[in-house]
Symmetry: C2
Subunit: 161 residues, 2 copies
């Protein structure tokens, strides 16, 4: 079975569905404030993509293109995608929804970085992601994973200070 | 009761104790690699501070001074402290160990940033930390909290791109 990945429109219904996800935080609260400050709904695009089952959001992720000037991960330095808050609601797990979202991200053929907040290393390894070489100034408490398209390498960190 | 906060020496015993903490990741694995590559033990300092009960590490945090050129949070722009992996082992909770570690960090009188990975907003609010104003390019999926010493304000983000 294949699933359709949709870009999520930020309206009160979507923000209400977001409350079902564990990784709800200041990003969503800030979207709600923005929405409250506007006159009309349905007009704010977001970095969120998701998969619906009928009328219900079953899985989501943030997928956001970062400018090459932020790139501290890839060689040559380039625009890349950052994935965060990839999450499948428990009732919809084990159907391949997470993999469908990650494949959607990979379809842009840009390098991808993610720093999962939950233990999910086997899933990410299956999707072709590898841990970076730890660098304290860059990574702090993160555990970044990267996916490299053809011709892209991991950026070597240089010693500073 | 008061507890003594110690800077942790990175040796095989410490790294073994780190395995009891939930937030064990590539930072610790990289320390282990560094240790394996050296001849003698006990010589690597770390950003980790902790509290011992007898011979056992009961609580820890990473406390790391960041150069002002990394500062995207404080006004005026300045050196600040980043706290991550603040964690008290379950047998030692409700004794004030977490608060003792945070007070230790505050004693340097530098602004502090942290992005807790677990739901702990009440604890951080009690410690005087507040959420930042969300900025997608800076914060992505993080939920940063900051503590401001006298005379320091939150840095306002300017629109870029």
């Amino acid at each position: 079975m294949t699933y359709e990945v949709k870009r999520l429109q930020i309206n009160y219904k979507t923000l209400d569905e977001f409350k079902k996800f564990k990784e709800y935080g200041i990003q969503e609260l800030s979207m709600l404030e923005d929405l409250n400050a506007k006159i009309s709904e349905n007009e704010i695009n977001s970095p969120f993509y998701g998969i619906y089952f009928g009328d219900s959001l079953a899985a989501r992720m943030s997928l956001y293109k970062r400018n090459k000037r932020f790139d501290q991960y890839f060689e040559p330095q380039q625009d890349y995608l950052e994935v965060w808050k990839l999450e499948v609601l428990s009732n919809y797990q084990r159907k391949g929804l997470g993999a469908t979202l990650v494949e959607f991200a990979k379809s842009f053929n840009l390098p991808i970085k993610t720093s999962p907040r939950v233990k999910s290393s086997e899933f990410w390894a299956r999707m072709g992601f590898s841990p970076v070489t730890y660098d304290m100034d860059r990574d702090l408490g993160e555990n970044p994973l990267i996916w490299l398209p053809e011709g892209v390498k991991e950026q070597k960190q240089t010693e500073e200070d």
